[in-house]
């Protein structure tokens, strides 16, 4: 072979031999450059069709131009021999570089990132490698990775991989299987053709091998190896392999392709995060002095006493606390808290004797969860963000859209719905939070789409009769329900129209704006969609359209009367394009017959030139009797109805755009008059304890337990006004 000419390349020396043939150093005598030429063994026995396929695939691969892909210059046939002319790379294969106990983590991350980048480019062009392995990855002395043999495996098929790479074929299969046994994904053994995710599995094997020095699935025979791939979990990698890297490898090596990373870009992002995380981890330290700082300026505080009624208002520029009594007619205004930050979510936690306000604050310095036990006089501000996406997800928190309390008898349980759409859970009173993986790993998740406000999980509903059942709503993803405490979730959107997909009634993907459940009749839910108003009487199994006589079925908020399960309030806006109240009139609509008909409620609300928008959490009821309804607008007006919607009064105007409203009664046993209605199954609105406490620190007996030593250690700072 030495001295022969293939095309215009003269063979100079043999530099390697593999299952599919020999590789030579050659000189391109026309372009005057050194190249590598791979000559496919005749013994491989390609027929004419297979040869032609191989040539076509090699030509397609030659179109891949990427710094981490070995460039294919030319493919050809000479004297019945197929040859591939490619970039000559000085370097060693990753397989040869990996020593006994594996490579240092930073090297694994550097190489892994480059391989993922190469796969990403090829996958974008519709090319699947199908035989990614450490022997197909070259590393130059500068640390540059070059992935070899893209797309060649498919056409060379089962017959090629003999000798040094063990072959595997299913007898009788016409297409055979391609790849190298220890790197093959489980689905290949099930006879599936494999796709991009097959390469991501192989990437996981390569990363495991590079990090540990051995393969994740080993055996003495092909049968043992394939059994391990199909049935066994890889042995965990501990230090010095960083936990983040191990997490990425695990997600590549999930048996079910739908549960793996779905794109090479996701793996790249996750590896990149682990790489950056090395900087972060290096800076994590345990105990240090707590910085005590002042961060509230010119803030008025309300002085809360027993019997006071409080309205908590979140706006795009901060939060306000409005104080009144059970008559709800005169209001004292406290705030603004969190100057300039958006407060998308507020919650009042009165469980276990607390009187704690939770707030999510968002600015270009990030999104944080904060709490106050003294009605805003001081706020717990975490030093380090408590809600954070794990490194293997590659995602970062954009916003917290909803804070929901857990059951009454689990007072340390809290949930947050966030953007990008995910559910977080805390079981220690907000001290630490974890991603609810059952929902995050749902195969639908990669196909949820961001709406105008981002891809947000904004509604969380707990069934008071069954603690295993919970609902969440995602814009735009749909309604999901769990019946097993969050382990598994199903899409529950039957009957809900979608305007953004060709299929008008898809399984999921609807842009849900709000869902409400009646606490006394939890099988009943009402739903405001992006066009569409629905009711379900069977725990979201089926939904029926109840937009009977509303001026528009487009809108954002939807709330239920706290006692009457047939009574619902909404604020329709004209359309998707013009998200303002219909005809310039601010009208709340109410049904008292479960959606059979709707009536406008307008007395006291502006009925001329009022082009208002009411956002999804800016309409709430209280639980007093008669029920109070509160509505806040994007133009910063705040209204109250103290007679269940019949008439309205303006509480204030000139607020920043209102994002959310919550309320609470500081219950006073001696207060006469209105009945605070304690018969409800779940109370989130009434405090059972006294009002004000000390103003400087959280040291009351009732909260001392909750404010554990963990809470007061260095991870949190206390801001005081």
């Amino acid at each position: 072979m030495i001295g022969e000419v293939l095309g215009h390349c003269r063979i100079v020396a043999k530099i390697g031999e593999g299952g599919m043939g020999s590789v030579y150093r050659a000189h391109d005598e026309v372009l005057r450059r050194d190249v590598a030429v791979k000559v496919v063994n005749k013994s491989v026995g390609l027929d004419a069709a297979a040869s032609s396929d191989l040539l076509a695939e090699a030509r397609a691969s030659s179109a891949l131009s990427h710094p981490n892909i070995c460039t294919v210059h030319e493919v050809g046939e000479s004297g019945g021999e197929l040859y591939i002319v490619m970039e000559l790379i000085e370097g060693k294969t990753l397989h040869d570089l990996i020593t006994g106990t594996g490579l240092p983590a930073d090297a694994v991350l550097r190489y892994g990132l480059q391989i993922a980048s190469a796969l990403g480019r090829a996958h974008d062009r519709g090319i699947v490698h199908r035989d990614l392995k450490s022997a197909n990855v070259l590393v130059t002395p500068d640390g540059l990775v070059k992935v070899l043999d893209f797309g060649l495996a498919k056409n060379l098929g089962a017959t090629v991989f003999q000798g040094s790479t063990r072959s595997f074929a299913t007898p009788g299969e016409t297409h055979g299987v391609s790849g190298t046994l220890p790197y093959m994904a489980p689905e290949i053994f099930h006879g599936e053709p494999g796709d991009y995710r097959t390469d991501l599995w192989a990437l996981g094997v390569v990363l495991y091998e590079a990090a540990s020095g051995h393969l994740p699935f080993e055996g003495r025979t092909g049968f043992e190896i394939s059994s391990a791939i199909l049935r066994e979990l890889p042995k965990p990698l501990g230090p010095p392999v960083p936990p983040g890297l191990w997490a990425v490898i695990q997600r590549c090596l999930v048996k079910e392709p739908a549960q793996r990373y779905q794109t090479a870009g996701e793996v790249q992002a996750a590896l990149s995060a682990v790489q950056s995380g090395a900087i972060l981890a290096a800076s994590q330290s345990a105990e240090r002095p707590i910085p005590r700082t002042t961060f509230l300026h010119n803030v008025r505080h309300v002085k809360v006493k027993k019997g006071d009624f409080l309205l908590l208002v979140g706006t795009t520029k901060g939060a306000f606390i409005l104080r009144s009594d059970m008559h709800r007619s005169r209001w004292e205004i406290g705030g603004p808290y969190f100057h300039g930050e958006s407060v998308y979510a507020l919650a009042y936690d009165d469980r276990a004797g607390r009187h704690r306000i939770w707030a999510s604050t968002s600015s270009y310095w990030g999104t944080m969860l904060r709490s106050s036990d003294d009605f805003g006089k001081s706020w717990m501000t975490p030093q380090e963000a408590t809600i954070r996406f794990p490194a293997d997800t590659g995602l970062s928190l954009n916003n917290i859209w909803q804070i929901t309390l857990g059951p009454e008898d689990e007072p340390d349980v809290l949930y947050c719905g966030v953007e990008p759409a995910a559910l977080f859970e805390s079981r220690d009173d907000g001290e630490t939070w974890s991603l609810v993986r059952g929902l995050f790993d749902h195969p639908h998740r990669p196909r949820w789409m961001a709406g105008n406000g981002g891809l947000a999980l904004h509604t969380i509903l707990l069934d008071p009769e069954d603690r295993q059942r919970m609902y969440v709503a995602i814009s735009a993803g749909g309604v999901y329900r769990t019946e097993d405490g969050g382990a598994t979730w199903t899409a529950q959107n039957r009957g809900i129209r979608s305007v953004a997909t060709p299929n008008k009634y898809p399984e999921f993907g609807q842009c849900i704006h709000k869902v409400a459940m009646h606490p006394g009749r939890p099988e009943r839910l009402f739903l405001q969609s992006h066009w569409g108003l629905y009711r379900s009487d069977d725990r979201a199994e089926t939904w029926m359209d109840v937009a009977n006589g509303v001026p528009s079925d487009f809108g954002f908020p939807l709330i239920m009367h706290p006692r009457n399960p047939d009574c619902v309030y909404i604020v329709p806006v004209e359309s998707d394009q013009f998200r303002c109240t219909c005809d310039g009139r601010l009208r709340v609509y109410r049904t008292r017959n479960a959606g059979a008909s709707w009536e406008p409620l307008m007395r006291g609300l502006p009925q001329k030139d009022a082009y208002e928008t009411v956002l999804r959490d800016a309409l709430v009821t209280d639980r007093l009797s008669p029920v109070g309804i509160y509505v806040g607008t994007r133009s910063g007006q705040l209204f109250v109805s103290r007679d269940e919607g019949k008439s309205w009064q303006k509480i204030m105007e000139g607020l920043p755009p209102v994002l959310c409203i919550r309320n609470t009664l500081q219950q006073d046993a001696s207060a006469g008059g209105s009945n605070p209605v304690p018969e409800l199954p779940r109370s989130t609105a009434h405090s059972k304890s006294s009002g004000t406490r000390g103003t400087k620190s959280s040291n009351s007996p009732s909260t001392k337990r909750a404010r554990s030593s963990k809470r007061s250690r260095a991870s949190k700072s206390r801001g005081k006004s």
């Binding site: 950056s276 994590q284 002095p289 700082t293 270009y364 990030g366």
Partner: protein
């Protein structure tokens, strides 16, 4: 080498109220110096960077007068005595 960080008012509460902080670093890059700063003040870290280690979108870091977005980001080289300024971008509504 010694590096001086100048902090905007929003971050001072997470750095003991200081408007500038000096750190000692043996590395030569911005990442090394930030690592030293963030070890002292993790509250500053979580306001500057996402949990995945990406600098937040509207946060600018300058070495001298040069925005590091144009000089290699976290890999930007530092010289002894460098002054690093952290500022929010002019943005928002």
């Amino acid at each position: 080498m010694r590096i001086t960080f100048h902090l905007p008012s929003a971050l001072r509460q997470f750095a003991g109220g200081q408007s500038s902080v000096q750190v000692e670093t043996s590395g030569a890059t911005l990442a090394d110096a930030l690592s030293a700063l963030w070890t002292l003040y993790p509250g500053v870290r979580d306001r500057m960077a996402t949990e995945q280690g990406q600098m937040r979108e509207h946060i600018n870091v300058f070495i001298g007068d040069e925005n590091v977005r144009h000089t290699g980001g976290l890999r930007s080289r530092l010289t002894p005595g460098a002054e690093v300024t952290i500022l929010p971008a002019v943005s928002g509504g």
